[in-house]
């Protein structure tokens, strides 16, 4: 062993927050399990793209003609059923036949793509749905990443080691939360960009010839933006929940029990709490314009079954965004507060 360098004469304070943040970024990037998760997700995306390229086919002119003929046949058949319905004498009293039997069926109501085999990829029809699916997948990945990042710190007890270097616990967790939030944000953006590129590729190779509807890009951008927000929030939620229970497995268990058991029980027993459930708000955040849910399927006594409508409630994008932000803030905040208060052993 060699000589030890003499220590400085003055007392040294803790390092700067920027140094702590930089160290946390490096800790995050050096985590092999996180790298493995991201690599597996990228591989799954690639496999999905290959399957989609094999599944979809650009239609031939003969195929389109056959599909249109099939649509005409279906329209004629549906119209025949409608006319029979209108002439039916057993219609409920007071019911409007036009409402009861529906309006005239038109060929424009059908998508040619639905009648093509194999069907072509339709950016107009699948663009938004794909962005939503990618947002959900990225969010699940972000949850795992956020949970495992802080869970590993607790299981290896290096969280305690860090406090020998930076005793301000809020800073320690703040730096970690910033890294998880930033990484989740990047993950969400990369996921949406990847979907955009993949969908353009699919459209070019195996797409239909449908023109994109007005407002398509605005709607897709909105979904993608809210998807990125969701990914960041869920990443922080995974971080906050794991920090609260101080164990990755326990956090995943709590999340599973809540989403699969508690929320389903709440839906069945207390349907009016649905606007405040996480799953409903995740769906409402992603869907353009939010999501309508039925609060009460039970028809009141004496109501006319022909005219009664179940009570619906619209969960707007704003409501969903605020609720999910609040849930994340509360869970992460309680974890940070407890870490600040509790003894660390």
């Amino acid at each position: 062993m060699t000589a030890v360098a003499p220590p400085p004469d003055v007392v040294q304070p803790a390092g700067r927050f920027s140094g702590l943040l930089r160290a946390e970024v490096h800790r995050f990037l050096a985590r092999r399990f996180i790298g493995l998760l991201v690599a597996l997700a990228a591989l799954a995306g690639l496999v999905g793209l290959v399957i989609a390229l094999l599944y979809f086919r650009s239609p031939s002119s003969e195929g389109i003609a056959a599909a249109r003929a099939e649509i005409d046949r279906v329209v004629a058949e549906q119209e025949q059923y409608r006319q029979e319905c209108l002439r039916d004498p057993s219609l409920p009293a007071g019911a409007d036949p036009a409402d009861f039997c529906g309006g005239p069926v038109r060929a424009a109501d059908f998508s040619v793509a639905d009648f093509l085999h194999p069907e072509p990829f339709s950016l107009a029809e699948l663009g938004t749905g794909g962005a939503i699916a990618v947002a959900v997948a990225c969010s699940a990945l972000a949850f795992l990443v956020g949970a495992t990042f802080v869970g590993a710190e607790w299981s290896s007890r290096s969280m305690v080691s860090l406090l020998f270097w930076e005793p301000r616990r809020g800073r320690v967790l703040g730096a970690k939360a910033l890294v998880v939030g930033g990484a989740s944000l990047v993950l969400g953006v990369v996921g949406q960009v990847a979907w955009l590129v993949a969908s353009q590729l699919l459209q070019a190779v195996a797409g239909d010839d449908q023109p994109l509807p007005d407002g398509f890009w605005g709607e897709l951008s909105g979904v993608a933006g809210r998807g990125v927000l969701l990914t960041a929030l869920v990443g922080l939620l995974g971080f906050g929940l794991t920090n609260l229970v101080r164990n990755t497995g326990a956090a995943l268990g709590v999340a599973f029990v809540y989403l699969v058991i508690a929320e389903n029980a709440a839906r069945g027993l207390l349907p009016r709490v649905q606007p405040w459930l996480v799953t409903e708000n995740v769906a409402a955040l992603l869907q353009p314009g939010g999501m309508s849910i039925v609060l009460d399927w039970d028809m009141p006594p004496g109501a006319n079954p022909a005219t009664w409508q179940p009570e619906e409630h619209l969960i707007t994008n704003l409501h969903a965004g605020l609720l999910l932000t609040a849930v994340t803030a509360v869970i992460a905040g309680v974890g940070i507060w407890l870490f600040h208060r509790r003894d660390v052993s």
């Binding site: 062993m1 030890v4 220590p7 004469d9 700067r16 290096s158 005793p167």
Partner: protein, 304 residues
Amino acid sequence: MPAVEMRAVSKTYRRRRRPPQRALDALDLVVESGGVHGLLGPNGSGKTTMIRVLLGLIRPDSGEVRLLDRPVPASLPAVIGSVGALVETPLFFPGFTGRRNLQLLAETAGVPRARVDQVLEIVDLADRADDRFKGYSLGMKQRLAIAAALLKQPRLLILDEPSNGLDPAGIRDVRELIRRLGDDPAVTVLVSSHLLTEIEQVCSSVTIMTRGRCVAAGPVASVLAGRSSGDVRLRVADRAAAAAVLTGAGFTVSPDADALLVRAVPAPAEITRLLAQSGHYLEELTPVAADLESAFLELTAEPA
């Protein structure tokens, strides 16, 4: 200026379905700057709790704590850059190399990367620095932890049971390192241990703790002197006759291998005089020095 000062510090752990456990009981402790100070006590005596209080990991219920002349935990951030600590098990990422683990800690504290190589050199881990931590032996893990504690060039180095789990060679290396660190007048080393020999070998001063209280403190020599037994061991040609003379004079004598042990002798010259007067000439007269083990056992004995 004391490196560590604790006044009437108490801490009680409240436990579910079990009675509360008082870990620190109005503990008073002062560690003067410089040298190696030992913190000795049986398991459960409150050593680790005391160190955790010093490092702000545990909040005391009452009392005053100062570290490098700053109140803890309020001003801990102002001094933590001068405090290196190894508390119980080394805590590192198992999948990272030793060097990577140290680099991440160095970044946290704003320590230059070159310092990582220096401390790896100091603890003799330079050759294995690029191996994964999980592949290290216990001794290597402990040395890496000491390297981490040294990264900040600390003025106060706190080592909690630094020899735990080490093989004899590792123990020797760590003790040698602690001694060397203690030679630097600018560095204060606080070593907690339940190993009496360790404290005796490396420390210049010692605090003995039991049941959360300090029961003796000061330079090791003073603590031992305060516990001196007054016994003497003597060797003479005719042990039986000499024993009879001393017993007749009121001393308590017992055989001790090829010598005699005389208990509680106020003045050894009296032994010399008595034996010479009766024609027994001493081949050896040695005061039985109190060792730290005796002092420790006496001080930490459970009350009857």
